[in-house]
Subunit: 367 residues, 2 copies
Amino acid sequence: MCSLNIDSKKKPRITIKDVADASGLSCATVSRVLSGYEFVKETTRKRVLEAVEQLGYVASLPARSLAGGRSRTIGLLVPNLDVGYVGTITQGIDKALSSANWDLVLYASHHQLNKETYYVNAIANGITEGLLLIAPQFPSTYLDTLRERDFPYVLIDQADPTENSSIVEATNYQGAYEATQYLCELGHTRIAFIVGSLNVWSAVDRLRGYKAALADCNIPLRQDLILEGDYQQQGGYEAVKQVLNTVDPPPTAIFASNDISAFGAMDAAREHGFRIPEDISIIGFDDIPQASLIYPKLTTVRQPLEQMGQVAAQMLVERIEERSRPPQRVTMATHLVIRDSCAPRQFQPGERKKPFRETGGNLSPTN
Amino acid sequence: MCSLNIDSKKKPRITIKDVADASGLSCATVSRVLSGYEFVKETTRKRVLEAVEQLGYVASLPARSLAGGRSRTIGLLVPNLDVGYVGTITQGIDKALSSANWDLVLYASHHQLNKETYYVNAIANGITEGLLLIAPQFPSTYLDTLRERDFPYVLIDQADPTENSSIVEATNYQGAYEATQYLCELGHTRIAFIVGSLNVWSAVDRLRGYKAALADCNIPLRQDLILEGDYQQQGGYEAVKQVLNTVDPPPTAIFASNDISAFGAMDAAREHGFRIPEDISIIGFDDIPQASLIYPKLTTVRQPLEQMGQVAAQMLVERIEERSRPPQRVTMATHLVIRDSCAPRQFQPGERKKPFRETGGNLSPTN
DNA sequence: CAGTAAATTGAAAGCGCTTACAATTTGATG
DNA sequence: CATCAAATTGTAAGCGCTTTCAATTTACTG
C-alpha cells in the first residue's frame, strides 16, 4: 500500500460524469446524446461529442447494461473454430451486425455439452442482448430457459421440435438427394455416405436424402456403406480408411456430410492408392471456400453459408428490437456445384485398385 | 402497455436479494458465500447454496463486474476463425482457463485494423478481466492505452518493441533456419519461401531464418523465390501458382511460413502437375493437427501451439491476480518434424516437367 | 403581454452486486 | 462470570450508467 507500485500508475477511469462536467451538462443529457435520443439540441449534442473526443471517454458496458441501456452486443455460440463452415457463417453474421452497428462476441463449446450449456447461461447473464447458435448439439437443455427469460435467440442449422424457435437452415434433404442422385447418374452403385453428428438436425436430413435418392435410383441401401462420422476431417479420414480396408469391392464414390469430412475422405483415398476422381469420386456438402481451392476442386452441395449468417443476424436483431415477433423459420436453397472430384464409374474389370501405387496420385498422361 | 403481450410472460429475474430472503441471510453474506470468502460458517454456506439451487439463481455479470467483483472472464482476440493454428492455441487456453475456473470469450478481427482496435476497446470496457491476443497485426495502436488502464494482457506470437508486454512466442528464427537447412541438406538449391503477414513478428523472424540458412548453406538468395503471402491458404496457393508459371526452372522446394500456406502451395503444385514430394518438396510451419492428416503427411516445424496457449493463459491469470508482476517473455522451442512431404532433389536431366528449358542459368555443372 | 404546448434538460432513483467498516456472535481464558 | 480476540454477519455506500418524471426553456398564438 505504500509507493512500491511506482510503475502501476493507473489512469483513473473517465466516466460520464467527467464528460458532463467538461460539457457543462448533466449526466442524463450526455447519456441521451450518446444513445441518439431525438430531443436533444444540436448545439448540445456537439458539446457532448467534443468532450467525449477530448477526454477519450469510452462507456462502461457493464454499467450501461445494468442500467437498462443497450450493449448492442450479440453472442455467438459455435461448436468449434473452423475457418470454413463456422468462419463463413460468422463472416455473414459479422457483416450484417457491423452494418447495423452491433458487436459480435464468440463462445466456443468445443462440442462439449457442459460447455454449451454453461456458455448459454453466461451469455444470457452477461452484457449481450441476444444469442445466435451455430449447429448447437444439445439445445433441448436450455431453450426453454431462454424462452422463459424472454432472451432472444436464433438457431442456425439446427431444428427445435417444439417449433418455438427462430431458425435459419438450408434444404439439407434436397441437397443430399441431388448429390447422391448425381453419383447414381454417373453410374456409381457403391456409394458410401459419411454421416454427420446425428444430434444436429442437418446430419439427419442429409442421411435421409442420401437414402431417398438411392431408393429412387433403385440402388439397394447397404448398411456397410453408411460410415460413422462427426463432421470433422479426422472422422472422415478414419471412416474412409476403414471402409477401403474392409469392404471388397470398395465403394467407387463417397458422399460426405460436409466438405471437411470430404477432405478427410480424400486423404484416406489417396493414402490407399486411389486417384480422385478416376478411381473414386467424392462429393462434399457446404461449399466452404477451401472446396474450390484444393486439387482437384471439390464437387459439393452449396449451402449459402454467408447469407445464412446474415439472415440469422438480421432475424435476431429484429427480434431484439421487436419482442412480439413470432418465431420464424427460413429455409435457404442448396445447390449442387459440379467441379472436378467426380467422374463416371469405371467399368473395366481390372479396376486399378491395388497395383497402381501412385504416391502423388494425380498425374495422368492427359495433363 | 395493456395485456396484449400474452405470450411474453417474462419470468422476473432472480436476484441476490431473493437468495438472501430465501436463506434468511443478508445479501452481503450470500455474496461472500458465492465468492468463496473464507470466513463463512459451513452451515451458512449450505443454506445459501441450497437457496441458489432451488431458485436457479444465476448472477448478473454486469452487476458483479460493476460492483468490483470478479467476472472471471478472459477476452481472446483472434485474427480469424481457424481450426488449426488459432483453434489449437485456443484449446490450450481453454484448458488452462477451465481448470482455473475462468471463462473465455472470443472476438474475431478478420484481419481488419478498425475491428482489432475497436474490439480491444470493447473488451477493456466490458466484463472481461484481461486480454489475450493471438498474432495481433496492429498492436501499436492500443498497447499504450491498455497499459495506462492497467488492463492485463498477453501477446501470443507477436513482439512489442517497447519491451513492456508479456509475450509468449516460439523460436521462429531457429525453426525457419532448420527447415531451410533441411531442404539444403536434401540438395535443394531453388527453395522458394512463402512469407507470412509481415506485420506479425513471427513472419519477420521466419523470413530471417530462411535467409540465414541459405547464406550458411552458400546458396545465393533469390528475390524471385521469396513469395508474398499472408498466412492464408489462398495466398499460398496463388503465390505458388504464380512462381510455377513464371520462374523457370521452377523451385524444387517450398518452405511456407505456416501450414495453411503450405496446403495452398500443395494444391497449386498439384494443379501444375507436380507430385509431392517427388517433383517438389514442401515444408510448413506450426504442425497444426491437419498437417499429419493430409496426404502426403506434411513435414513442418512444430510450434507447441497448445502449450503456448496454456502458458499465455496462465501468465495472464497470474498477472490479473498479482498486478505487480513485471512483463514476462516466454520463448518456446520449435522442432522440425520430418514426415513425407520432402524428398531429395531429383538430378535427372528429364526433370518431369518441361523439356528442361535452362534459361535462367542457375544450374552450374558443379551442382 | 399572457397562455399554452412542445422541446429540452436536470434531479434522483435504481439496476444487481460487492465490499469496507461496524455490529454481533462465538469461543477461549483466567 | 467477565474479558478479550477472532469469527461471522449486517448495513450502507457506491460502482457507472439509464430513464422517469419534474422543472425549465423555447416558440407560437391571440
